[in-house]
Symmetry: C2
Subunit: 194 residues, 2 copies
């Protein structure tokens, strides 16, 4: 930046220090859901049970297929975004917007996957007599337990993503105000000079 | 503010003008989901069908009861928050945080309600042979149509709330930076004076 004052330089240094610790925190916060997504994915993928009543696998239920896809996409995105986040470079507006929008979409997608799967697990445990849906977990207890575990992990991922959404919206909207801030600063100097 | 410069005054006026149009936009954006929530709520509350196969009401399904509650809470919160938003007064940090957190929670709650209800409507239309859940919409077509309408409206509410979350996070995080901005400004004056 041409003609930057000593204060502006000090600010830039402070910003760099802040953004360094923030970058580490963000990378951790992106690697954690990646791990959790992979665990939830593997538990669900291996979820099948065969007994005297018949056999059931996760792919018999469209909802669980969606859960697997959502977790897979989430794990991939978490890994990619962690790699992008860990590289120290200036945050451009377009990068902040991309992170913000993708984080928001992923948060909603993974929350929706968790919610619909919870509904199916709930129906599998309790059934619904009004619409003649019988409970199935009496016959397929192990299947239901694993599904519950996978869904619970998905909800922890949702929490991580809610935090990431917060972080990326903070990054974007504090960035948004940066030009106004430097305009104020210039303005302040001008007034003092006049 | 004691000793404010003309430029700072002009900025304050600009801020006031911006916040006035933003306030109107926000109030509209809060009244819209209120109306939609009430419509979705009424459609679901009146949703019952009796025919030769038996009778079904929304309250037979726990999910639809949750949808009704979520829509009711959402309508109430939308109205209250619209009233708070329409009154012109300085936005305090605690108010910005309250709006931000409640908007986020409502967005997730209404999205989850929409998602689980979609799952139930889907199962009611298609059934799931693997877990012996039969489709019910062949027998209760009118019930399913009304439920679909209510769920669709709930998704539009989710979109409104996603926008509101965006707005309140923008408000909060641009507010967050305000103290840094005025610090810059002061700093600018000091440097110019030295």
């Amino acid at each position: 930046m041409a003609g930057s004052t000593p204060l502006q330089k000090r600010e830039l240094e402070d910003d760099n220090e802040n953004s360094s610790s923030m970058r580490t925190a963000e990378t951790m916060l992106r690697l954690l859901p990646m791990g959790l997504c992979v665990v939830a994915l593997v538990i669900m993928l291996k979820n099948q049970q065969t007994n005297d009543y018949g056999s059931i696998t996760y792919s018999d239920l469209g909802t669980f297929r969606y859960l697997v896809h959502a977790n897979g996409i989430c794990a991939g995105y978490s890994l990619l975004s962690a790699i992008v986040a860990v590289v120290p470079r200036p945050i451009t507006m377009s990068r902040a917007w991309t992170f913000f929008l993708l984080d928001q979409i992923l948060t909603y997608a993974i929350l929706a996957a968790g919610a619909v799967s919870t509904e199916v697990v709930y129906l599998a445990y309790k059934g619904d007599t009004a619409v003649t849906w019988s409970e199935s977990c009496g016959s397929f207890g192990s299947f239901c337990h694993k599904a519950t575990a996978s869904v619970s992990i998905t909800f922890i991922v949702s929490l991580c993503y809610a935090a990431l959404s917060l972080l990326s919206s903070y990054r974007l909207f504090s960035k948004f105000d940066a030009p106004v801030g430097s305009y104020n600063n210039k303005g302040g100097i001008e007034i003092a000079n006049y």
